[in-house]
Amino acid sequence: MATDYAAIREAIVDGDADTAAALGRDVAETAENALEAVDTAATVIREVGDRFGAGEIYLPEMVLAAEAMQAFMDEVTPRLEAEAQRSGESRETAKVVIGTVKGDIHSIGKNIVATMLSASGYEIIDLGVNVVPMDAISEADRTGASIIGLSALMTTSMPYQKEVVSLLTELDRRNDYWVIVGGGPVTSDYADEIGSNGWAPDAAAAVQLCDRMMSSGTGPATAPFIGKEEE
């Protein structure tokens, strides 16, 4: 049965999670090339993200589109994993622990980044707001995450971003996790200064940042910082 790419596009753009899930099941069960369908979906969600970044669509539409994308991927992923296993390739989804740091209960920026990362294939463990530094590390340990993402919207909460990096360093575990930071007052220079691995100016760039880190071939302790100058 031919895959209905137009229908996949429409379901994601419209934020129709039920239809997207049904189309995902069709792909999983009958498509000759499931990866091509996933590529289509990924292209669509990137376009949605770009339109949000340009102010052409608004947050509710983007969140619903991301949820539709997730519903589609939930159905297709088991087949992709089975195919990967048969061919001897490993197909692991990178996990990101994300949260707004202690003393700060702003969530909208963190939510937008989490939504974009999720839509781009990352598994998100959202710790919410007011996250104690050691809790971010403990959750990353528990879930097997690769990346810890820390948001701060106040200059007075930014020291807790630094604290997470300091804890990892002092525990001699700096190579265990990539640490990325962001938020209104957080600059690329600050992110570099505190020893994080990367900074991005917006949610779309945060996805690119994570993609670069996951394909860098080096460890977080020795990788060069990725920030404003590197874009």
Binding site: G55, P60, K102, T156, G184
Partner: protein
Amino acid sequence: MKLDLDRILDVLDKAHTGPVYNERTFNLEVVAKTIQEKVAQYGLTGTCDPANPIPADDDLADRFYQAGFDAAVDIGLLCADTNRTIRLSAAELQAGLDAAPSEFWLGSGDQRVHYRHRELDDPTPPVWTAPLSIAVAEDAFVPMVEAFARVPVIDVLQGPSLETIHGRPLRSGSPYEHIAGRYQADLMHEGLRRAGREGMPLEAIATSTTHIGVLGGYGVEGGYSRDSDIVTILSIADFWTSYESLFKMTQVYVTGGGFINGATWVMLGGYAGGPEGTAVACIAYTLLMISVFQGARGGVPPFDLAYMGNTGGRAQWALSMFDQAVTRNTHVVLQSVVNQVTGPGTKELLYESIVGLTNIAVSGTANSVGVRSAGGRLTNYLTPLENQFAGEVYKAAAGMSREQGNEIVKRFMPKYAAVLSTPPDGRPFQELYNLDTLQPIAEWRQMYEEVKAEAIDAGLPMD
């Protein structure tokens, strides 16, 4: 100003017994859907004209107000600590607005400042508060306060804010912040003394955004005064509140009463959607912040997610519509805030200020706080001069008509439109001011004079 304990307790009770929502359901099913419904119900879809950011349609402004009032009743404020909604009936919301003052005084001695409700096209000069809570280095703090207080057009001080206290990093929610509340009051008072403006009103507490600084610095001996200063209560996201904000209100109550400013932002492009929905949300959130927190003053302007400011066409339109709607339909002392994105030492920052401050002056606001120099992103990137300029624009525009204001806004918006998404940082205070004389360097002064001449030529009576 005494706070009503029965109303406080009622709000606290609602925060612990009101309807329960998780984050997703509240944001998408309550906020976004309600706003969309009100925009459609009141025929507001497609009314935004970003090329003419200051509309002069009284009927439209009144329809926006009704939509905002209804939305406030239907949405309420979700308390992040309880996941319950503080929801007021229409009668309770109106009673809260009726109880808000239409005028009050802050400050003491010859520095007293009269806040009063303004109307559209009102010649009464609005109150100018500066600077915003932009971080500065600890050793620059008192000289900076002194330099700002020396500017006569600045009536009230809010910022700047501290990154460190006694050399230690200030950590939100920690005991450092408790000390910071009182410490900032001491430093502000010293700056005022050096400038010869003791008694000038202050807004508490720029350095500490959580309640802990307010607990440590407001209403305590030597701290911020409950008789002459005002506590600003901000929130975290559209139609959200928290114990932090409620604690600030209860601190004002337990210290014997005082003045509260109920303020925050609505994100344009966020859950409220486009400019029409955002204007409705700004109105609704403003009414709730004043009524729930017994605000002597309040206002919730838009903030465009596309560039994290509000000086572009659609945000300016939403800002004006929100201001006009609240001005025409209430007697409250309305605050509105212009969120610039370009940095000090650039002409673009001054052009953004002409647009934003002209807009909110003719749209009826009683007070504004600014300037958000460099979008508030960078430590030490603020100077008194752009704050002086913005205050001069704000007061000069009072008494102009909305039509006159619109022509000025249209003339200056194109001068920075191209850099809204890539704003120049400008230069820090230490590079733009002589630190011995606390006067701007010649280059920055010349930019100010040149742009001021352009503003006068456009019809703003700044001379």
